[in-house]
């Protein structure tokens, strides 16, 4: 039995090292930015393009390790639930999170033939809260690859009654 290697990448961090060791389990964390965003004054490069390019670059960088790990390969996107569901004060966070949802769905489809899985997890206020940590542990368990291409809310019920994207 081989051991999975695990890396967490903050998508809003602009100081990611270029040559990190390849990992078979990649967690992409998007925390969003400030409230009160407006389209007309926004720095779309920083707020939208950067985190999405960081997500793609990370997956591509680690792709060989992810696919060679076969059924242990994982990509997990972690993002705020409110940005997934729609927040009127954070249109750019919603754009990025919506993009990450469709991105991870497509990654799941490409990863399926290698045996791995890709999912999105949405948190309430803190990406490190116990429910999120335990959910990620479950999704990265050896025999969990059948769960793929899903969006899972660990948001204390704040998503209940709202149409999921």
């Amino acid at each position: 039995m081989t051991t999975s290697t695990f890396i967490t990448i903050d998508l809003t961090d602009t100081t990611q090292p270029a040559d990190v060791p390849a990992s078979s389990v990649v967690v992409l964390v998007y925390r969003g930015t400030e409230s009160g965003q407006t389209l007309d004054t926004a720095d779309l490069e920083q707020a939208v393009a950067h985190p999405l390019m960081a997500a793609f670059s990370a997956v591509q960088h680690h792709w060989t390790a992810i696919t060679e790990a076969r059924h242990r390969g994982r990509v997990i996107v972690l993002a705020p639930a409110t940005a997934a569901l729609g927040d009127p004060l954070r249109p750019l966070d919603c754009a990025v999170t919506g993009a990450l949802i469709s991105f991870v769905r497509s990654v799941a489809i490409e990863l399926q033939r290698h045996g791995g899985a890709a999912n999105a997890v949405f948190y309430d206020t803190d990406p490190n809260e116990p429910a999120v940590t335990e959910l990620i542990a479950a999704l990265t368990a050896e025999h969990a690859a059948a769960v793929t291409g899903q969006e899972i809310y660990a948001a204390n019920g704040t998503d209940l009654g709202r149409l999921h994207p």
């Binding site: 389209l39 007309d40 926004a42 779309l44 939208v48 393009a49 999405l52 390019m53 997500a55 793609f56 670059s57 997956v59 591509q60 792709w63 060989t64 940005a83 997934a84 569901l85 729609g86 927040d87 009127p88 004060l89 954070r90 249109p91 750019l92 966070d93 919603c94 754009a95 990025v96 999170t97 919506g98 993009a99 990450l100 949802i101 469709s102 991105f103 769905r105 497509s106 990654v107 799941a108 489809i109 490409e110 399926q112 033939r113 291409g149 994207p165």
Partner: protein, 264 residues
């Protein structure tokens, strides 16, 4: 009479359509012109736009204005929007239709190509919407209708395209909530396989396999999308917002072709 009925403007409704030189954008422009809309068309190629405009004017008698714009250039987009408002007196309906498709598997995807698709499809939509918002607010019954794609649900070899379209869907949910009290509705249409000059460049056997995967038994036509746009664009459609409507012949619930649909 609904509040929407009371706010219907006296002048013809004005639609500003990006990506209007392409197959779907052209179909939307033709259909809305036939319904009496004044039309402003935008795309990167002015000559292609002129040809579309001349055809529409010839068949409908509607005056169509064309404004070449590069969606990656905020000033260029703003100039096209401003020119449309100056020419037609406002913008009531924004149709974000511009988009490019450059598929490749993850391991073969050039990061510059990933970025290019994001810039045109998602950043371009954000820039255009931002530029048109003042006019849409003035309308009182503004409509933002953005074309996403069935790839929004995920697609093999399309991480860039899917991300760009998912981003449009995500920001549309936010905008629908933020602009609701301005009378502006914000919705997305997610077309499946639509027959256009671009799709016709695919090999015949692939097109046939796609057709067989579509529950209604045929590929879509631009008019299928255009009719949905017209429904959402209507001044009396003010109670439908924040939604993504698949126009795909039922394929979004029937499964997909995952492999061999991309060449790279």
């Amino acid at each position: 009479m609904s509040s929407d009925d009371q706010r219907v403007a006296e002048r013809p409704r004005v639609a500003f359509i990006t990506g209007a030189a392409g197959g779907i954008g052209r179909g939307i422009a033709e259909h809305l012109a036939g319904l009496g809309y004044s039309i402003g068309l935008s795309d990167i190629s002015e000559s292609a736009l002129q040809a579309v405009a001349e055809d529409i004017t010839e068949t409908t008698g509607v005056a169509v204005s064309v404004f070449a714009a590069d969606l990656a250039d905020r000033e260029s987009v703003q100039a096209a929007v401003d020119a449309t408002v100056a020419r037609h007196g406002g913008i009531d309906v924004l149709v974000n239709c511009a988009g490019i498709l450059k598929d490749a598997r993850i391991e073969k995807m050039d990061p510059a190509v990933f970025r290019q698709v994001l810039d045109v499809n998602l950043i371009g939509m954000l820039t255009t919407t931002s530029a048109a918002l003042p006019a849409l607010r003035s309308s009182g019954t503004g409509r933002i209708i953005s074309l996403t794609s069935r790839a929004w649900l995920g697609n093999f070899g399309s991480t860039n395209y899917a991300a760009s379209k998912g981003g449009i869907a995500g920001v549309s949910r936010s905008l629908s909530l933020g602009l609701a009290t301005d009378g502006i509705t914000v919705n997305c249409i997610a077309p499946g396989f639509i027959e256009t000059p671009m799709s016709n460049s695919m090999p015949d056997d692939i097109i046939e396999r796609v057709r067989q995967s579509i529950p209604v038994g045929r590929v879509g036509q631009p008019i299928d999308v255009a009719r949905t746009v017209a429904f959402l664009a209507d001044a009396n459609a003010g109670y439908l917002t924040g939604q993504s409507i698949p126009v795909c012949g039922g394929r979004s619930i029937s499964g997909s072709m995952r492999k061999d649909t991309v060449s790279s």
